[in-house]
């Protein structure tokens, strides 16, 4: 109790101190992310090759490449990748280095906000704000946000901004002239920045109109299409679109909807709104595959690159701010924790770093080094913890390799890894021995923390179970182990009621634990490869086949109506009757030519089933992440289980199974 009071006081003092410090230097308020934004390519933590890709694209867009003809096809560049991988920074740095100007679209929230921000962070009202009149604001000239966007796009891509150079060179506090020519004072602001005297422009779309609204999306696609189909203006104004792959956890949508039962009955489960913003929704399928669009995917920032960048940042910070030297440079351990927990997101890493420097992390005296370390770790984890910790690939790997305490180390493991495992094992408690009749269930303690898996899982339990289902057989040695997993899957799936709220809230845990319990230990390495569930593919097929059933049924009914004057028993055929029993007759009607009316050809979708032995197509492999436009698209459109496909997507082939350990 008393200790708590003392601590509280200590904290108060500390905050006081901080406040005082703040007052001393107001400029310190800015976030480090803004303060130390990279200005040269050397400072960028992005992989050199990616920067080179973007640079080449931009130069081709302006100059047309070596042949001079590429200009036509370098119209839209889509930069995608997880948040905080330096997409925007790359463009800005290149703008500075290559000398072009960025015209950026910003949505305005609320019609009345007529305040624009410019680079320096000062805000200033635009001209008419003093004479602001709400009535004027809603006059007949009202333009929807999207109309404004279109206007912006048109003018920015076709008109030369004659004042731009002067505006940006003088850094005048007035909004760029271009802006006032756009339409009204209340229109969204256009920011222009870049080197003075630049003649070339690039349109940067980062803050997109509301793509999730179906109509806006269609309009947006149409606008981009018309932009692309027109000839490039002279000089060309390429468009750069930046889309962060916001991973969506499908938790809320966990098994909402009808599941298979709904589908097998009527197939109404489709058309769920696609509520994920990714490159595909933003650009549309056709546009993405058209030659006018180039996509560059940014990967999470590598650990080494990030460490370099953070260290550079720290050194600049502590050399220029002698005042703030009072709070010490964060220790190396802290830096490491920040880097590992950031998962390649440099923005979050810098934020965490700033936090680490503002708050006194060193605990009070008298504590041992190790404890201190763990305390730091707790704090750092608390601030840097992110929802999407694990990539799907690693999640599955961790689960399916079923590591347990005392596993022999991987021959390729480094001593450091072995030590790490040993430390981990030391922390794990052995479970009590089961009584003799339960001996068969005795297992060594698992190294997998299911709670952690659940917390970090990027997918919901339904998709998770599909992934387990697709892949478990490779990891089993014999049928008994298979039986365990299959039983767990079956039990969890049938556990709970019809409605989503009746579902078992522990599904994920039950699945994970059931699988872990059933799998052999250790799992033999056979260079297993992870696959994506085939489930969705067959679901699509089933849906098509149901259409065939519908056609066939209509045919039967029409036949009946045509044959007899009195429509009799027209609704007599249920769908499953058609699918199960009508096959024979449809087949023979197809073969005999005597019949006047033939059944619709689509019946073959359900009536024809050639048996092919060994044609074991295994669907797509789950890479550590890859980009593919085609097939995954379809799976997403299904969305029947309330989940899209949310593989972590970035470049790279699949890993050998053994590589999974290295990641842990």
């Amino acid at each position: 109790m008393s200790q708590g009071v003392v601590k509280g006081k200590g904290k108060e003092k500390e905050t006081e101190k901080l406040k005082a410090e703040r007052r001393e230097n107001e400029a310190d308020d800015r976030l480090w992310v803004d303060m130390y934004e990279p200005t040269t390519e050397a400072e960028l933590a992005v992989h050199v090759k990616k920067v080179e890709d973007v640079r080449r694209w931009i130069s081709e867009a302006f100059d047309g490449g070596p042949s001079g003809k590429l200009k036509k096809y370098r119209r839209i560049l889509a930069l995608s990748g997880p948040a905080g991988t330096g997409k925007t920074s790359t463009v800005r740095v290149l703008a500075r280095e290559m000398g072009f100007e960025i015209l950026e679209w910003r949505n305005v929230i609320g019609e009345a906000s007529n305040i624009t921000f410019d680079d320096s962070g000062e805000n200033h009202a635009s001209g008419s704000s003093s004479s602001f009149n709400p009535l004027e604001d809603y006059d007949s000239d009202y333009e929807s946000l999207f109309t404004k966007f279109e206007t912006f796009l048109n003018r920015a891509s076709s008109c030369q901004n004659i004042f731009a150079s002067s505006a940006s060179s003088s850094k005048a506090p007035s909004p760029p002239q271009f802006h006032s020519s756009t339409s009204k004072p209340k229109s969204p602001s256009i920011q222009s920045s870049g080197s003075p005297g630049a003649k070339k422009h690039v349109i940067l779309l980062e803050d997109l109109p509301n793509i999730l609204h179906a109509r806006t999306q269609a309009q947006f696609h149409a606008a981009l299409n018309s932009l692309v189909s027109s000839l490039p203006s002279e000089p060309p104004v390429p468009v750069i679109i930046i889309v962060s792959d916001a991973g969506v956890r499908g938790e809320a949508g966990d098994d909402v909807g009808t599941g298979g039962s709904g589908l097998s009955r009527g197939g109404w489960g489709r058309d769920r709104d696609r509520d994920v913003v990714d490159v595909r929704t933003v650009l549309g399928k056709e546009l993405l595959n058209s030659p006018y669009v180039t996509q560059v995917v940014f990967n999470p920032i590598a650990v080494t690159l990030m460490r370099k960048a953070l260290q550079a940042l720290l050194s600049t910070h502590f050399s220029s701010y002698s005042v703030s030297l009072r709070c010490a440079t964060p220790s190396k351990d802290v830096l490491e924790i920040i880097i590992t927990s950031a998962n390649g997101d440099i923005r979050s890493a810098i934020m965490a770093l700033q936090f680490a420097c503002v708050v006194e992390l060193q605990p009070r005296k008298g504590k041992k080094g190790k404890e201190k370390n763990s305390a730091e770790k707790v704090i750092m984890e608390a601030i840097t913890r992110r929802e999407q910790g694990l990539h799907l690939f690693h999640l599955m790997g961790r689960l399916l390799y079923n590591k347990r305490k005392g596993d022999p180390p991987n021959p390729r493991a480094t001593t450091k890894d072995i030590q790490k495992d040993r430390d981990l094992d030391a922390g794990l408690q052995d479970p009590p021995k089961p009584p003799p009749h339960l001996r068969e269930h005795e297992r060594r303690t698992s190294r997998v923390d299911v709670d952690l898996l659940y917390a970090d899982s990027p997918i919901d339990s339904s998709l998770f179970s599909l992934y387990i289902h697709q892949n478990y057989t490779q990891f089993c040695d014999d049928l008994d182990q298979c039986e365990g997993v299959a039983e767990a899957l079956s039990w969890v799936d049938s556990n709970g009621g019809e409605a989503w709220y009746q579902g078992n809230p522990h599904r994920f845990h039950l699945l994970a634990l059931g699988t872990l319990h059933a799998l052999p230990s250790p799992v033999p390495r056979r260079s297993q490869k992870l696959f994506k569930p085939e489930f969705f593919h067959f679901l699509q097929k089933e849906k098509d086949a149901w259409d065939g059933v519908r056609d066939a049924r209509r045919w039967v009914v029409d036949e009946t109506l045509g044959g007899n004057a009195i429509a009799w028993r027209a609704g007599g055929w249920s769908k499953s009757d058609v699918a199960v029993e009508l096959g024979g007759i449809l087949k023979s009607r197809d073969t005999t030519s005597l019949m006047t009316s033939r059944p619709p050809a689509s019946h073959r979708l359900f009536s024809r089933m050639p048996f092919a032995l060994g044609s074991n197509e295994r669907g797509q492999q789950l890479g550590e992440g890859e980009v593919n436009g085609g097939e995954e698209e379809e799976e997403e459109e299904l969305g029947i289980w309330g989940v899209g496909k949310k593989d972590e997507v970035h470049n790279g082939g699949w890993l050998e199974g053994d590589d999974i350990d290295d990641f842990e």
């Binding site: 109404w268 009799w568 023979s588 009607r589």
Partner: protein, 356 residues
């Protein structure tokens, strides 16, 4: 030209070929003026719907045969359009709410309310009420069944409901207790022979005895299937002589081969193979329960006597789970793995005893 199944279907209770007792009872019920809600249940192809239509005719006369087929559009709560086919006459309306998937409650409510709130205007109508036929009642969701239960009580004055289902096990008790249950059993082989003979006579040819018995054996008590097979056979070989093999539908042959796969090898790799086959079957719209039943029957034919009971037990076990669960493939596969492991252990144990 319509299918024989539809063409030669009996239209009145008097012309029905079998279950005479049931017909008598229906007739007296229709005459009594106190017609209850009804639930017809029984295996498919036993004649449930035929009996329902015959009863309707008995109730309302020939006017009930003047049908029109509508397509009604319902709006789901998320403003999605659901198209439902509705067959109706002046006296009754027939719906299959399960076509709307999980929105079946909506369909039930809308239609029943509409029917219930309109009085019979035709003064010549024999009955004061209208009849609503609900097909595939056993695939109604719980919500829909609850909705139905309430309306059944509320609008008893001007509406009767006839439910048609394969089994009563999926219906909630309150509905069962509000209905008069009519079990329509599958016809016996002799009854089926009679019907086949009748059909062939009407179609204008003589059916050889052996062909008839072959068809009956193959059909497993499903009269619709039997007549369809007969028609297909007639189409393939118009004289119906010589050695006649009944061509099974593709999916049945497929199930057969899946059973072979299960029995011939038991390994995790084989599990994967069988899974693909199951996926294939599912994607051809074969209902999962049918798949499980057929494959289980085929497997049972191929294994030792002592295993049969166990295999069927697990088939039943996983069938129940399948009904509750969402992803049918899990349960099918769980059953396969179970069977494989049983089968393997069976041989393994024999080997061990041989050593002793």
């Amino acid at each position: 030209m319509s299918l024989w199944v539809d063409q030669f279907r009996p239209r009145t209770l008097d012309t029905l070929h079998y279950h005479k007792g049931l017909s008598e009872r229906l007739k007296s019920l229709a005459a009594s003026g106190d017609f209850p809600h009804m639930l017809f249940y029984g295996p498919s192809g036993a004649g449930k719907k035929t009996r329902i239509t015959c009863t309707l005719r008995q109730l309302f006369g020939a006017g009930v045969e003047k049908l029109k087929i509508d397509q009604r559009v319902f709006l789901s709560p998320s403003k999605r359009k659901l198209e439902i086919n509705i067959v109706q006459s002046n006296f009754h309306i027939e719906i299959t709410p399960s076509e709307a998937g999980s929105y079946d409650r909506l369909v039930i409510q809308e239609i029943l309310k509409e029917i219930a709130q309109t009085q019979q205007v035709d003064l010549n109508a024999k009955q004061r009420f209208k009849v609503v036929i609900i097909n595939e009642a056993d695939s109604l969701s719980r919500d829909a069944q609850a909705a139905l239960r309430r309306t059944m009580e509320k609008y008893m004055s001007n509406m009767r409901i006839i439910l048609c289902a394969n089994s009563t096990s999926r219906l909630i008790a309150p509905i069962k207790s509000r209905c008069l249950l009519m079990r329509v059993a599958a016809p016996s082989p002799t009854e089926m022979h009679d019907v086949l003979k009748f059909v062939s006579k009407r179609a204008g040819f003589d059916l050889p005895e052996e062909v008839s018995s072959k068809i009956v054996d193959d059909s497993g008590g499903n009269l619709r299937k039997a007549i369809l097979v007969l028609e297909a056979l007639k189409m393939q070989s118009p004289d119906l002589t010589g050695s006649i093999t009944i061509a099974k539908p593709d999916w049945e042959t497929y199930c057969n081969k899946v059973a072979d796969l299960i029995v011939s090898e038991q390994s995790p790799a084989r599990v994967m193979e069988v899974r693909t086959k199951f996926y294939e079957l599912l994607s051809h719209c074969i209902p999962p329960t049918v798949i499980l039943k057929t494959v289980a029957e085929r497997v049972v034919e191929r294994v030792d006597e002592s295993l049969k009971a166990e295999i069927m037990h697990w088939a039943a076990f996983y069938e129940v789970r399948m009904r509750v669960g969402n992803k049918k493939i899990y349960h099918l596969e769980a059953w396969v793995v179970k069977v494989m492991s049983l089968y393997k252990h069976f041989f393994y144990d024999i080997d061990m005893s041989g050593f002793d």
